[in-house]
């Protein structure tokens, strides 16, 4: 799956990847790849600007972890990030249900 296909949904996926525990950029990328069965395998470099953008928006908070073998920046969800993720989930369910209903439901009504 290409990055362009995910446009509009990447933020929600990144927030979801950070929901359980703080992670660094590469781990977020790997979580998306493994969680999607390999279908979402973004170029690693694209994750970092997206994380910085979410940090600027106050949805995640980054901090340097100096206990690893080399300094590493990890990110955790903020309270605003949790609220945003919850809203994204709700919006996605509604969107998916609507589109599924249209694509797989009964024949479309005739209009004049």
């Amino acid at each position: 799956m290409k990055a362009e296909t995910l446009k509009g949904h990447l933020d929600a996926l990144l927030l979801a990847a950070l929901e359980v525990a703080p992670q660094h950029g590469y781990a977020v990328k790997e979580a998306l790849r493994e969680g999607s069965g390999g279908r979402i395998d973004l170029p690693t470099g694209t994750i970092y600007p997206a994380l910085r953008r979410l940090e600027q928006a106050g949805l995640i908070r980054g901090a340097w972890d100096t206990t690893a073998s080399r300094p590493r920046r990890t990110y955790r969800l903020t309270a605003a990030g949790r609220r945003a993720l919850s809203g994204e989930r709700e919006g996605w369910r509604e969107f998916a249900a609507t589109v599924t209903g249209l694509l797989e439901g009964p024949p479309w009504p005739r209009t004049t």
Partner: protein, 192 residues
């Protein structure tokens, strides 16, 4: 020190355009990617080339950071709102026959020069090639906008006893811009 000379060269390109902490974070991610491919049995050269391909082209990454670079959004917002605030003041000055006022010519020229400099700095901040080098002109431009708005509001408050509605509109526009610019400038100054 990067684990491979190809990665070293790639990171050097990023370091020229990005602040140190961003480049350090990217270096960690790229090293992790390289280690991942080494762990999967690739030799150092192949692992480095595969890691770089996986990481993405440097111009693409720089462009992505350019979109979120501190300074760019501030500069664009100020350039976008400039004509509105300027238009309000032009209306206030024309309807108030400001050219008959007691403001010395030198002060008027200094104000005009500062206005032109601020516009130039903001345009530079938006158009400059290296995204994170936008910060300095953006800071100077935003500081200039604050100075211009404060000067305009203070001059109006000191010299005009009976305000007209165009003047009130212009003062409101300037005060709104001051309220928006001051926190943005504070954020720009805080960033590394």
């Amino acid at each position: 020190m990067a684990p491979h000379h190809l990665i070293d060269a790639y990171l050097a390109e990023l370091r020229r355009a990005l602040p140190a902490d961003v480049a350090d974070e990217l270096a960690d991610g790229l090293t992790e990617t390289y280690d991942h491919f080494r762990d999967h049995g690739l030799d150092p050269d192949t692992a480095a080339r595969t890691a770089l391909a996986d990481f993405g082209a440097a111009p693409d990454i720089l462009n992505a950071f350019a979109q979120i670079a501190p300074g760019r959004r501030t500069a664009r917002a100020l350039l976008a709102t400039g004509p509105l605030a300027g238009g309000c003041w032009a209306l206030a000055l024309l309807t108030g026959h400001a050219w008959q006022g007691p403001i010395p010519t030198a002060a008027r020229l200094a104000f005009a020069a500062l206005l032109l400099s601020v516009v130039a700095l903001l345009v530079i901040a938006v158009r400059i090639d290296h995204p994170y080098q936008r910060r300095t002109p953006a800071i100077a431009g935003a500081g200039g906008v604050l100075l211009l708005d404060c000067a305009a509001v203070c001059t109006a408050a000191l010299l005009i006893s009976v305000p007209t509605w165009p003047l009130l509109l212009a003062v409101t526009a300037s005060l709104t811009r001051i309220c928006g610019t001051a926190p943005a400038l504070q954020r720009l100054l805080r960033k590394p």
